[in-house]
C-alpha cells in the first residue's frame, strides 16, 4: 500500500498522486473521490471497473484477480505520475482489487480531480487505458463453461 498523502475532502490542497493500492480489500470510486477533492478542484471524474456477468459472449460467474503486487503498484504509481505531467490535474488516486470477485463488485477504481473537467476526464481515461496495458495484473474467469485465463484478447482454458 502506497499512501502518499492523507488529506480529506476539505483539505486546502490534495495534490499529485494521493493513493495507489493493489490489494484484496473492497474498493470504491466514492472513497477515492473524497481523497482527491480540494478547494481548488472544480471537477472530479471517476471510473469503476465492475465484474459483469458476460465476456466475449460467454456467461461469467465470478473472476479471480492476481497481481505481481509490488511491481503493479510501481506501475500504477508511474502511470498516475505520467497523468499528472500530461494534464493539468490536481490529484489522482487508483486502487485495484485482487482475489475472488463476484458479479457487481468493483475491480478497479480511479478518481481524478482538476480545476476543469476536460483534464479530469482525459486523465482518468488515460489511467484506466494504460493500466490495462501495463499493470502486471491478471484475471481468471469462471462460468458455466469452465475456468479461463484472460490473456489480453484471448481466453485460454485453465487446467487447475
Amino acid at each position: 500500500m502506497r499512501e502518499l498523502a492523507d488529506e480529506g475532502p476539505q483539505a486546502t490542497r490534495a495534490t499529485g498522486v494521493v493513493d495507489v493500492r493493489v490489494g484484496t480489500e473492497a474498493i470504491s470510486a466514492a472513497a477515492l473521490a473524497q481523497q482527491v477533492g480540494s478547494r481548488s478542484a472544480g471537477a472530479i471524474a471517476t471510473f469503476e471497473g465492475v465484474v459483469r456477468d458476460h465476456h466475449e459472449g460467454k456467461a461469467v460467474s465470478f473472476l479471480e484477480y492476481e497481481a505481481y503486487v509490488p511491481m503493479s503498484e510501481a506501475v500504477l504509481l508511474s502511470i498516475a505520475e505520467r497523468a499528472c505531467r500530461r494534464w493539468e490535474i490536481e490529484a489522482v488516486a487508483v486502487h485495484h482489487r485482487l482475489g475472488r470477485l463476484e458479479i457487481g463488485e468493483v475491480s478497479v477504481a480511479i478518481a481524478v480531480s482538476a480545476a476543469h473537467r476536460a483534464a479530469a476526464f482525459e486523465a482518468s481515461r488515460y489511467v484506466i487505458d494504460t493500466l490495462k496495458k501495463e499493470a502486471p495484473i491478471w484475471k481468471r474467469e469462471t462460468g458455466p463453461d469452465g475456468a479461463f485465463w484472460v490473456e489480453g484478447p484471448d481466453l485460454i482454458e485453465a487446467s487447475d
Binding site: P70, V108, K133, A135, P136, I137, W138, E151, G152, A158
Partner: protein, 81 residues
C-alpha cells in the same frame, strides 16, 4: 549466480508453482533463464511468444543480462482492470 523467478497466472499454473530459484552461469540473460525454466517445465515453451519479462520489477528484454540476486518475473499478457 542465483536468481529468483516469479511465475504468474497461466505461467504459474504450467510450472506448478509461483517461485523458482535457479542457478545460472555468469553472464546469463533473461532468455537463458527462460530456457532453464523450460527444461523443468517443457509446456512453458508454448507461452514464449506471449510472455513479457521483468527484472527487479521493471519490464526488461530477453537479452537483458542478469546479476546474482536478481528477481525475474514471467509476465503473461495482462488483463487487469
Amino acid at each position: 549466480m542465483r536468481v529468483e523467478v516469479l511465475l504468474f497466472a497461466r505461467a504459474r499454473e504450467i510450472c506448478g508453482g509461483d517461485c523458482v530459484q535457479l542457478q545460472l552461469s555468469d553472464g546469463a540473460t533473461v532468455g537463458d533463464c527462460f530456457a532453464e525454466l523450460v527444461a523443468g517445465a517443457p509446456a512453458l515453451e508454448s507461452m514464449h511468444e506471449r510472455l513479457l519479462v521483468a527484472v527487479n520489477e521493471c519490464y526488461a528484454g530477453w537479452d537483458t543480462r542478469l546479476s546474482d540476486g536478481d528477481v525475474v518475473a514471467m509476465i503473461p499478457p495482462v488483463s487487469g482492470g
